[in-house]
Amino acid sequence: MANDREVLREIWDGKLPICFQLAQEEIMEIQQPDPFYVMVPRLSYFPLVTDKMKRHFLRFISQENADNEMWLDYNGQPLKWHYPIGFLYDLYCGIDPQLPWTLTVHFTKFPEDVLLHCPNKDVVEAHYMSTVKEADVLKHRGQVMSTMQKKDHNQLWLGLQNDKFDQFWAINRRLMESHGDNEGFKHIPIRIYSDDGSCFQRLVSPKNVDGSRKVLQQMIAELYPDKINIKLRTHGITLPLDTPLQWLSEHMSYPDNFLHLCVC
């Protein structure tokens, strides 16, 4: 069970200051637009927090591009909207923090070979719900999500979208429970990324073969047998190597119920 409420709250409240700038080649006015500053929740997704910013820049671009799909880049790297904002920051700026995080806004040349299309927020919701479902398949063979009602699914999404901690956790706690007599999930929903863009997926058990609880160090030794001194970062912190995986999954997962860790 996710019992350490202070930790959950601390992670939920994590925010990042962002400075959005319109790409130079998009500016059609003589007057340069001011950059747009905003504090955004680390756990949110860009399409949920960029409506105002988009309206701010719309009057500076060519009107024929106004209905185009907007996209963002950091240092020339298109940002995948379907990952949580805090994860993207840790991936690209974790080693060399820069605040505010300065991102470039585009309305043309959508890089369709890199980014998923996101015509509206329903697409974000569908993506989010299917990721939670996948995590539940790993943890409980999908049994918790399939026994929840549609209104519970909605509450989870609305809690995240409207930044309502209590609303979200009233439902999410059920996804963080262990079932049966064995204390722990079947598998830990986890994705490990390197900043070269590669991603690592494995079926990871929260327990060692002898039944003892597995800690981060032991998982690293299994996944990277030939590398030592690998550190993993999430929510802006480097994780202590003696953290039990089960605790990590219950408390440090993103709202999509996956641990998104960056190699550093």
Binding site: V114, L116, K133, L138, G142, G197
Partner: protein, 168 residues
């Protein structure tokens, strides 16, 4: 979903290899790409061209079909991309209107979505794996090759040319 309904990575690789051997005999173009380090990244793929007609205009589309292993669900998964003759990716809405799609609008959007491909980390259209496990577990007993059986579930939705000699 029950433990018995899921497939191990090793089962998938065995099935993919034998599927590839049948394809070779039939010379119908499926390729097997193995990843020795990351077994779950093994997949089979095929490139084809589709001749389509819309409003009396003929056009040629390039398609890429990829069958890979969904590690979380423990099932084979089907993904594809389609490009027009200018090399632009077709949108989900454009694909829905293609004559080879036999799903109605509501089914289509709940079954096929654009997602980041877990192996290529690029956008692909992926058929949602949610019901695959249940269906496959029911069919697995009588199945000679689980990928052939799996394609038997997909082909009514997307009319792909699959030779009868695979034993469908």
């Amino acid at each position: 979903m029950d433990q018995n309904s899921t497939l191990s990575v090793e089962d998938f690789v065995v099935a993919a290899t034998s599927f590839y051997e049948i394809s070779n005999r039939l010379a119908d173009g499926w390729k097997l790409i193995k990843d020795e380090n990351e077994t779950y990244k093994t997949y089979i793929k095929k490139h084809t061209f589709l001749q389509v007609e819309r409003d009396g205009v003929q056009s040629l589309l390039k398609t890429e079909l990829v069958i890979f292993f969904n590690l979380s669900y423990g099932v084979p998964a089907f993904s594809f991309n389609i490009w027009n003759s200018s090399g632009v990716l077709l949108t989900l809405e454009e694909i829905r209107h293609m004559s080879f799609v036999t799903l109605n609008q509501k089914e289509f959007y709940s079954v096929i979505t654009q997602q980041e491909h877990p192996i290529f980390l690029r956008p692909y259209f992926i058929v949602h794996p949610c019901h695959t496990a249940e269906l496959l577990s029911a069919l697995r007993q009588g199945s000679k090759n689980i990928i052939v059986t799996f394609l038997g579930l997909i082909t009514p939705l997307l009319k792909l040319d699959l030779s009868m000699e695979y034993g469908l």
